[in-house]
């Protein structure tokens, strides 16, 4: 197994999942215990959530973490 030292770019489809549930950013924020600004930052890709918050999202949307977050190398 090789070393992975390149920075990873993590994207998410939170806005799609949120739209499917017909939720506002504030509604999702209240459900997972963060502020609306944090939801907005995550959707824009400006903030990567902690593992705990990622699992909270996973539980809330009843999806696997890999179905919410996609990892790609930043060099690609």
């Amino acid at each position: 197994m090789g070393n992975i030292k390149t920075k990873l770019k993590i994207t998410n489809n939170l806005h799609v999942l949120r739209a499917e549930k017909r939720l506002t950013q504030q509604g999702l924020a209240d459900a997972i215990g963060v502020t609306r600004l944090t939801v907005n930052s995550m959707e824009k890709g400006n903030y990567n959530p902690s593992l705990e918050l990622a699992f909270r999202l996973s539980i809330y949307f009843e999806k696997d973490i890999k179905d919410i977050f996609t990892v790609e190398s930043k060099d690609e």
Partner: protein, 199 residues
Amino acid sequence: MNKFDRFFIKYVIYSLPAVIAILIWGSIGEPDQLALSKGATRFFWDTLGWIFMLWIVISFYLSLRTVISRTFRDAFLSKVTRVKERDEREKEISGNAAKFSFFSTLAVLFLFLFLSLFTVTIGRYPKKEISQDKTGYISLGMKFEPYSVEKSKTETTDKEGKVIVNYSDLPLSNAGLLLILILWQIGGYHLVARKELRS
């Protein structure tokens, strides 16, 4: 924060107008004469005086508690400085801002410390003493006196008699104070960081 602390904080904030009033009154009028006056003037002067005295005692208690108690400091100073940590993203932002504040404050403290320590004198010799084409001089030096003798001088007697306690200022020099603040900042950081790293 317990209910006593909340009450004390409210007292310090809400009695501030009375404190300002007595300070203005004391600077306009003659405090010695006001203390000996009679009637309503004496009543108001004494009332404001008690409020002021209590304000100083409570302010001192809150200052001391801010230094000693971590939970109180976090709760009290978060409100005063409007630091918001409602979720993990805000905690990260707060951490980055605190790091910036820590390093920039430390840099300023180092600068002030060096400015307090070094002495530079550039001068010109008197005409009578000029020799070997040397007309002027530059003198560089370093001086460190953590204790200020001037500030520690206290009066032991005044016109009314013997003074028992007289406190007015910290008996530390600028360099001494800056050094304590630098050591406190670095020490405080490492104390918390090491504790968290070990856990």
